[in-house]
Amino acid sequence: MTFKEIQDLIKLMDKSTLSEFSFKTETYEVKIKGPRSYAPTMVTTAVPSMPVAMPSQAPIAAPNSSVQEGPKAEDAAPKAATDKLIEIKSPMVGTFYRSSAPDKPAFVSVGDSVQKGSVVCIIEAMKLFNEIESEFAGKIVKVLVEDASPVEYDQVLFLVEP
């Protein structure tokens, strides 16, 4: 599958009402799935007899999997709007939490305004809880990671409209 083909597939998925799509040939298999409210996730699996096909990449933080060859899943979503949005990226590896405790409200939700220095989330690693502050001022347009999911360095957490 070429990069362009994958990109087209994702765009097609997004436009349709399908929640799941799979496609298999002799050499590879493609599965795309995801609820409509998030950008679609994609998992490609190389059929074992053809090692030349793309190696599988297990997602670190569903639904925001980092696909090596394809475009970032969330890019396929409203493309025009994404161009002007700022990304708040994770500065560390750990588990992402939207609030300071399970019974407390989320630090930020879609539509909230943040200032430079506002706490947007907590990332926990090895029992240490780190408050992550926004470096930008603006409005939260999208939350890309589910509560209590693992995140990696540089992973995009929020999209902010300046």
Binding site: P55, S56, Q57, A58, I60, S66, Q68, M92, V93, G94, T95, A125, M126, P150, V151, E152, Y153, D154, Q155
Partner: protein, 447 residues
């Protein structure tokens, strides 16, 4: 057996470990800095976690970040590879505290062998021959001459605070002692502010011959014979081979026994290497121990026909070893291909590799993480590939290496391939007539 191993490394060794894990049915986690996001080890692993920006201190050397990655992936073991944290006792300790198996020795074993003086003392106690010396600083010339005569000339005076060859003088007889002593002290004082001097036997025309050992958790330690690594430039190995052209069955017996003794003295667990210096009379002396898998491990793998990474993982999982020593059944040699410009002082040559065609064919193995289109980052070491050849005899092995080097095409960056091509033609190298000083007089022919 482990369910999931996180490889705390990068480049060719990360890929090497991932391959064996796949064969063993063990899931793999790759960690990477942003500079390595297109790296093969990231693509071939089952999962990958970006842990930081390019600088090693913020990524591959960063224990908290690596442990965070272990945590979010639920890995039950960590393979440290070589370099980076492979011989970091603290890292081994932290893994143990977190209940994650560090695939390597215990923190205590790493500490014992990491400190040169402690290592030497441990070896002396175990009855392993070490470079004879004064043990401590010399009080005066009289004591120096006394010890020199006990050890036997030639001896070398060394500055205790020293390095880089400063504050060192070779002495061949009692007559020369006073002059050498004065000069060494003056130089040491000027360079390090400390004129403390000790004396050691000077090993003439030393060869660097190391023995691979492996120990299980039950206390069994065996050796897997030697590798000759005398071809070094500024103490960096460039070519390794097994068997050593200088070895005899008797010497192998003696050195092998000493290596096993060294491992048993610390109840060693895992794979390790005992490095010896061998003089022209075939006297051998313990130099140091490396408590990790080494770059040149494929050389041993090829001559004993076993997967050392697999053995390493099995031992870490508590599986006992057979208790047999292993001996080379053929000849193997490895050339380290580095991204360096050999016509300009071997300076590093990072950048984009535009063409990459590895040598292939009978008896040729290439361990590499590089591919056409890959950009060699400037942040890490310059080794890009290991070219390993094996054959029935040393002569055939060299011929095969020459054929392989000729077909190894790497474009876009400079590499050490021309150096190896020239080395393989060198008469002294071909006749096995070399020691660690060999490359001091080696000059590249013009391009």
């Amino acid at each position: 057996m482990f369910n999931k191993i996180l490889i705390a490394n990068r480049g060719e060794i990360a890929l090497r470990v991932i391959r064996t894990c796949k064969e063993m049915g063990i899931k793999t986690v790759a960690i990477y800095s942003t500079a390595d996001k297109d790296s093969l080890h990231v693509r071939f692993a089952d999962e990958a976690v970006c842990i930081g920006p390019p600088p090693s201190a913020d990524s591959y050397l960063n224990i908290p970040k690596i442990m965070a990655a272990v945590e979010i992936t639920n890995s039950d073991a960590v393979h440290p590879g070589y370099g980076f944290l492979a011989e970091n006792a603290k890292f081994s300790e932290i893994c143990a505290e977190y209940g994650v198996k560090f695939i390597g020795p215990t923190p205590d074993q790493i500490r014992k062998m990491g400190d040169k003086i402690t290592a030497k003392e441990t070896m002396i106690k175990a009855g392993v021959p070490v470079v004879p010396g004064s043990g401590g600083l010399l009080k005066d010339i009289k004591e120096g001459i006394k010890i020199a005569n006990e050890i036997g000339y030639p001896v070398i005076l060394k500055a205790t605070a020293g390095g880089g060859g400063k504050g060192m003088r070779v002495v061949w007889s009692d007559d020369e002692f006073e002059d050498a002593w004065n000069k060494a002290r003056m130089e040491a004082k000027a360079a390090f502010g400390n004129d403390g001097i000790y004396v050691e036997k000077f090993i003439e025309e030393p060869r660097h011959i190391e023995f691979q050992i492996i120990g299980d958790q039950m206390g069994t330690v065996v050796h897997l014979s030697e590798r000759d690594c005398s071809i070094q430039r500024r103490h960096q190995k460039l070519v390794e081979e097994s068997p050593s052209p200088f070895m005899t069955p008797e010497l192998r017996e003696k050195m092998g026994d000493a290596a096993v003794l060294a491992g048993k003295a610390i109840n060693y667990e895992g794979v390790g290497t005992i490095e010896f210096l061998v003089d022209k009379y075939r006297n051998f002396y313990f130099m140091e121990m490396n408590t990790r898998i080494q770059v040149e491990h494929p050389v041993t793998e090829e001559v004993i026909d076993h997967d050392l990474i697999k053995e390493q993982i099995k031992v870490a999982a508590g599986i006992p070893i057979s208790g047999k020593n292993y001996y080379p059944t053929m000849h193997a040699m490895e050339c380290r291909i580095n991204a360096e410009d050999v016509y300009n002082g071997f300076r590093p040559s990072p950048g984009k590799v535009t063409s990459f065609h590895t040598a292939k064919g009978h008896g040729v193995r290439v361990d590499t993480h590089v591919y056409a289109g890959y950009t060699v980052p400037p942040y890490y070491d310059s080794m890009i590939a290991k070219l390993i050849c094996k054959a029935q005899t040393r002569e055939e092995c060299i011929t095969k290496m020459q054929r392989a080097l000729d077909e190894f095409i790497i474009e876009g960056i400079k590499t050490t391939v021309p150096f190896h091509i020239q080395l393989m033609k060198n008469e002294d190298f071909r006749s096995g007539n070399f020691h660690t000083g060999f490359l001091n007089n080696f000059e590249m022919d013009p391009e």
